[in-house]
Point group: C2
Chain length 341, copies 2
């Protein structure tokens, strides 16, 4: 069993820097496209055999140090009663977005088997990964989930989300509290089904000012991390555009803080403190560059990590759909080669 | 003549904090919509009487301390030979985007009267503003212009832009140099036509890592600011998502650094240095909030500015199309009231 990733999460010395990529199972792989030609995203997510199979695809192909279960961050919203659709080429759509207190009150708690298919996919993937690499579970963070639920899909300016936050703070906190409780239970069940680490994706939280983050988001994220502490698996806390939020995100919780490419890894690590691990932070577009250019960038990140225990190499966000597969392969190999202790 | 804005740009004491808003002439105003019902954006830009009229609309309605000429940052790209269209509700489209060295080589310099209509609009607006408030000219910065020219419009991940940067750095620098020279000449002519300050909009530069900014952008922005120094009007340098780029942007130039809402104004001012003025930094979505909530946010920003000479109140980005007009009015009034010295 390759335990580099788990060791780095705990800031223990490793033989070389572990590497995995957000959205490493995805459209850039032909194997994935072959499955998706026959099944929708939701079908893949809800069929444990398929989800487990897709989870394994990048592990069989690249020298990665962790697998991440194939799922979508919006699945808990569907379980709570929102009607979710993935329109081809348009991203997710929620047909009954939240707009008022009544719709927030109607959200169902998720405390039973609503998401049992994810747990079963984790069990199957974990069996297939025996002797290989650890399996990561994940969930969307309350703010990012709330933004989809309120906007009805992706957003550019988060106007409705912030309007609810600013104009009806009580409804906002009620929504965030509901989401935080659902996410806590969901991640706990993923861990108990076999996830050896979990990552909380607060992908869009970087649209907030530090003041708004502290007031409207932090306490709810803290509830999640506090609720998962006794599970004793590494907890990863990730967002993008978070250069000015990192200290607050650290305060909210997590054993590993995810960094995007907009910050220098050494500066950011100093900001969050060396008593926590960091994960990142290559620009996903760098994978489109020449091998020489990729090497220059990987070297720079490793130089900034300075061999300090507790660095997990990753991108600053998920792999983009048309990423050249060679860029992915060469980056994973290079991280190991250039970081040999 | 109200010279609060110009004094603050020079970090001189003022009776109260000056305020203006990016995109203060825009769709949220009925007066503007009435003009746009009869004329396209490009018609308004290219008809000096209309551009000047629209420039004045917010000045006649709100207690603002500066006007900004109505124009679009993409006009110089059109003058350089790109076919520009504003598709209703879709944003700008460029029909012949730049994709290779040949298309970059074919770009025309803009050294004559190609943009004389903007200069004429400035002359007319300036006359109408006599005894009122100063007039700001502006241009898009090379990176932001390059991203539109290469992507063919707005972008989410800037994949083609960064690919050119990473894979063909020589073509990239050639393009950026051409753009920087065009922008320098364009801003110089705006100043000579009567603009009393100019702002460089690097709106999308926050998608870059600090390393990429330093290597691929900074020298070209520096060329612009160095080239405008002897014009002796205040130079404003603005971008969004720039939390980790502020020190480098300061190095590139500008008497005033624009801040978005993702940073605390006091932290950011310390980062860029108190020997430069700052402009910002209310979240544009805050204008959708209640008066009480707006007040809380304006107070927070003024408290962080701490009465130090050299703060110009603004949003962190342009006014959004559906912004309630009362939010704009109340914010401008409040800034003056709460900052009385």
């Amino acid at each position: 069993m390759n335990d580099r990733f788990l060791k780095a999460c705990r800031r223990e010395p490793v033989d070389c820097t572990p590497v995995w990529f957000m959205r490493q199972a995805g459209r850039y792989m032909q194997e994935y496209q072959a499955i998706r030609a026959k099944h929708s995203i939701l079908e893949v997510c809800k069929t444990p055999e398929l989800a487990a199979q897709v989870t394994l695809q990048p592990i069989d192909r690249f020298p990665l140090d962790a697998a991440i279960i194939f799922a979508d961050i919006l699945l808990p919203l569907e379980a709570m009663g929102l009607r979710l659709e993935f329109a081809e080429g348009e991203g997710p759509i929620i047909h009954n977005p939240l707009r008022d207190r009544a719709s927030v009150d109607q959200l169902r708690p998720v405390d039973g088997d609503e998401l049992a298919y994810v747990e079963e996919a984790i069990r199957q993937a974990r069996r297939a990964l025996t002797g290989k690499v650890p399996l990561i579970g994940f969930a969307g963070a309350p703010f990012t989930l709330a933004s989809y639920a309120i906007e009805g899909g992706g957003s550019r300016n988060y106007i409705r989300t912030k309007q609810l936050m600013y104009r009806e703070p009580e409804v906002w906190h009620r929504l965030m509290d509901k989401l935080a409780r659902v996410v806590t239970g969901y991640l706990r069940r993923q861990i108990r089904a076999g996830a050896e680490a979990v990552q909380l994706f607060d992908s869009w939280v970087g649209c907030l000012s530090p003041g708004d983050y502290a007031e409207y988001v932090l306490p709810h994220v803290q509830l999640i991390f506090d609720g998962l502490k006794r599970e004793q698996v590494p907890l990863i806390h990730f967002g993008t555009g978070t250069g000015s939020l990192l200290r607050l995100m650290r305060q909210a919780g997590g054993d590993v803080i995810g960094l995007d490419w907009r910050v220098h890894l050494d500066d950011a690590w100093q900001t969050v403190g060396h008593d926590v691990a960091v994960q990142g932070n290559l620009d996903p577009v760098a994978l489109f560059a020449s091998v020489h250019e990729i090497e220059r960038r990987v070297e720079d990140i490793l130089r900034r990590a300075a061999g300090r225990p507790g660095h997990i190499f990753n991108l600053g966000h998920g792999i983009l759909p048309n990423t050249p597969i060679d860029g992915v392969a060469v980056t994973a190999e290079m991280v190991h080669k250039l970081s040999q202790r």
